[in-house]
Amino acid sequence: MNRRLSELLPWYVNGTLKSEDREWVDRCLATDSEARAELEWLLGLQSQLAQSVSGVPSDLGLTRTLQRVRADRATLGDRIRGWLGAVASGPVLARARPIAAIAAVGIIGAQTGVIYLLARHSDEDSQQIRASRAVPADEGPLLRVNFAPDTKEVDIRLLLSAIQGSLVGGPGQLGDYYVRVPAGAENAAVSRLKHERFVAAVQIVPGLPTTY
């Protein structure tokens, strides 16, 4: 098989060859059995590669991507608010500044009144308010994970991303890392991490220990 024919065959197979080259290859194939065998082999390779991900669902990773997209949109909202703020401080609305200043003083006064009224409530009430809002970082359940000694920081980041986890503690003296995953997803995360080669051990624990 001549060199030009050998070079052109892959592009003949993937359909990107120019028409004049394609016609030339067709003529060669009609008379060259070795080239026909090579063509058959390349078509087989193409078919095998196409099948390699045929079982992969088309929505693989879609949920996580959409989460990021929606987070971007929230960020965009912040940018728009910032832009509006910048416009408000511009020359067009400069005349409105005294009015805005009076309104701001009014709001501050109203907030002061609300704070005063809250302060007059009993200590028990204010403790309840605090208890309902505070979410301590060490509340469980958490995953206690030990990574293999050769694990890199980027490996840990990728694993955390894969299970939507965030690091809340560690590494401890024994190399323990404490990871929070979305509520209810602990068992699934453990199952996944157990099969990762960078993970030496993983276990669900009720929360961060006092010392670790």
Binding site: W11, T16, E40, L49, L60, L62, T65, L66, R73, D150
Partner: protein
């Protein structure tokens, strides 16, 4: 999905149309995943590259100038993402005897040898041999035979002259062929040895 349709959807994505994004995602996710998988050899990393790549499409849809196929632009983004992951991770130094075979030059095959390979090569064999190619060779085969890229597109994506692509492709073909031949010979030896 043809290129015209993809570009139309991209225009809608640039206007924050989430439904258009989902359509384009479902149409191209396998191609991006397949590319990343061949580059990185690890499914969970390939999935990360897929998510990063498609997120980038959402964020930069308006920047696509339309002077290439959408799929080429997309694979270009995936390539950058995959290279970042590849450079950051530990180099896998495990080798076995197939690695040496894959790196050696192939023997010349008789026509019937090609036919035998075409008949016998199996998905697992191709996967195993692809993994043993160098990243450049693996990428070259993937871009040509899976992504259907033209010579000019492969050269553009890999950032090398077209002649370099031709040379890479030639050696990649020889090496994967050689690797597959060894697998077939082993299978033959096993079947002869079994009662």
């Amino acid at each position: 999905m043809d290129d015209t349709k993809a570009k139309e959807l991209l225009g809608r994505i640039a206007r924050q149309d989430e439904a258009a994004f989902e359509t384009i995602y479902r149409a191209f996710s396998r191609r991006v995943f397949a590319y990343a998988l061949y580059m990185l050899n690890e499914p969970y990393r390939a999935e990360e590259v897929l998510v990063d790549t498609m997120h980038e499409v959402w964020r930069n849809a308006a920047r696509f100038r339309g002077d290439s196929l959408f799929s080429t632009w997309l694979i270009g983004i995936a390539r950058n993402k995959a290279l970042l992951v590849h450079r950051a991770r530990r180099f896998d130094e495990s080798h076995d005897d197939l690695d040496d075979v894959a790196e050696s030059e192939a023997d010349e095959f008789a026509p019937e040898g090609f036919a035998e390979l075409a008949a016998k090569q199996r998905r697992e064999g191709v996967q195993a041999c692809m993994r043993r190619l160098s990243q450049e060779h693996r990428e070259c085969l993937q871009l040509v035979f899976y992504q259907g890229c033209s010579l000019a597109d492969v050269a553009h994506l890999q950032g090398v002259p077209e002649n370099t692509v031709k040379t890479r492709l030639y050696h990649a073909r020889q090496r994967i062929k050689n690797c597959l031949r060894l697998l077939i010979e082993r299978e033959g030896a096993h079947s002869r040895a079994s009662p």
